[in-house]
Symmetry: C2
Subunit: 331 residues, 2 copies
């Protein structure tokens, strides 16, 4: 264990199973394009049977963020639950090999390690079908107090609220972080996830320090269809709010003012999986380095741009080098 | 089961674990660059610990060939042994989803499904470290007589001889194929594999109909360092011999004459894993379609060119479409 961590992320520990499909496939399989849908084991098996040949890559929203942070050179830790099975071993190997501290004890019996089937369409959009498996076994007991206390920022993914015990774990982690004077960040994860847990997420906004959301998520949170109104409202509740707008860039809302961030130039968009996760990684890296918020946003866009240029949601190149070459900050 | 199969391939059923490394890594881990080395479970675990974040894709030499054949539109079948575990399920899913007939009963207990760590260096070369796992449990009883009898060509990978019971299975498959008047093809797989089984491979050459080898393998087989001499010698023993020469293309040796095949134009070589496997797929597809040998070689080069343009050893696009667009043959 390190003396301190820049960021501890907590999330559903998932192995992604990626394949390319056309829109007709999504229709035939009755999948909601662009969304993350939770499926049970039976439906997961059914969809896997329908799926063409695939590629497996470790994923999980907050785990991707941790891997991104480590790739920038930050000290990152991760808490998430896998099963003691082959996919669990792969997940563990990949996150540790990325340089992330990860010591959550795996569950011994079924359910198996979580998997997320990622259907990438020709427009580079991704449609996610997640079987949570072992993730539902994440318990408050998995939150190592010592690690939370040593972490400058504890980052939670909204998806965790889909498991009642994992939501309890998040509440405990928030408590530990606040008690030790550290910051808490939350990602709203997905508009449908916001729908499922709106009341608690609204409540949480007044307790956390940093909120990450895309346009659809934050609109869903406040059930408004005017982004300007939502920004005014959330700006009074959460100290720092970052709203991603896809190809249009992002907005940073801090102390009543809004900073506009341009998207990074991307030669070819291949797969948008992980764009939000890596955006958060870049932004948090900027924060822990003490960079101005505009630079944080630009670093975030840089990381998001890298991840959508290839298949999979973990960096394919060292983000530290990418940042150095970008000239965004002088080091 | 289909009425007939164009090609049945038999091989080690393996899931590839791919990562990028530099040459210093190969040196540090004492790996023989470009070769396939067999490792035991302990060494496999050790190397996996050293390995960075990775991607999992179904592989296995003859399985890649079967997937390639199916991608061309041929009727392909595969025999190979996985364990009834998560990697085994992934392997089964991927080959069936590729359209290949695969019904080999998985083993129930340890060892686990085989894995091959693929270390790709910046020069796009691959260095393979294979833990054979469940593959050593392939037995003569796994060779379904009915399937061999229905297959125009039975294709064996030389790697199978690394397991004594799998070698027995190959001998039985050869016997079934010859009894029913079908053809047998053999791939020499790897120069080190040839070294391990030289005598039997030499003996086999007089029994089979088609031999696939690269320059290093065929030189090793006859322990000559003059390719011309080797070609004269092998041409008298095996009816059809195909020798791949990497970036220099390939040679087809048939009835005393040698046809030179140009390599396909490849925009960017990313990972040479599977080049030989897909070359064989293209060539065999040409054979079962009854195309002239020169066209068979060109189709083979086309398939090899596709596979080296991306990570992994299974086609990323429909080879049938690629062939149609190539204009090599008029259909």
């Amino acid at each position: 264990m390190a003396d301190f961590y820049d960021v501890l992320t907590i999330g559903n520990a998932i192995v992604d199973i990626l394949t390319h499909v056309d829109d007709a496939f999504l229709e035939k399989a009755q999948l909601t394009k662009g969304a993350m849908t939770l499926v049970d084991e039976e439906r997961s098996e059914y969809l896997y049977q329908l799926m063409g040949p695939a590629t497996e890559i470790s994923g999980g929203s907050a785990a991707n963020t941790a891997a991104g942070l480590a790739s920038f050179g930050a000290k990152a830790a991760y808490i998430g639950k896998v099963c003691d099975d082959q996919l669990g071993h792969i997940f563990r190997h990949d996150i540790k090999a990325a340089g992330v501290h990860f010591e959550t004890v795996p569950s011994k019996n079924k359910p198996a390690t979580a998997r997320c089937m990622v259907f990438v369409t020709p427009d580079s959009q991704r449609t996610l079908q997640t079987y949570l498996g072992a993730c539902v076994k994440l318990l408050p007991g998995d939150i190592v107090k010592n690690v939370v206390e040593k972490s400058k920022i504890t980052y939670l993914e909204g998806y965790l609220w889909d498991s009642p015990s994992a939501a309890d774990a998040c509440r405990l982690a928030t408590q530990y972080a606040k008690q030790s004077g550290n910051k808490v960040a939350l990602s709203l994860s997905d508009p449908y996830c916001v729908e499922r847990h709106r009341t608690e997420f609204q409540h949480l906004c007044s307790k956390i320090d940093i909120l990450f959301a895309n346009e659809a998520e934050i609109m869903s949170l406040w059930q408004h269809n005017n982004l300007k109104t939502v920004i005014e409202q959330i700006g009074k509740i959460t100290p720092l709010v970052i709203i991603t707008l896809g190809a249009a860039g992002s907005l940073v809302v801090y102390q009543g003012s809004v900073i506009t961030i341009k998207p990074a130039a991307v030669r070819q968009i291949v797969d948008t999986t992980g764009a939000g996760d890596l955006y958060a990684a870049g932004f948090l890296y900027g924060i822990v380095c003490g960079y101005p918020l505009k630079a944080c946003g630009e670093i975030a866009s840089l990381a998001a741009g890298e991840i959508i240029s290839h298949l999979g949601a973990r960096p394919a190149v060292k983000l530290a080098k990418l940042l150095k070459d970008s000239g965004i900050v002088k080091e």
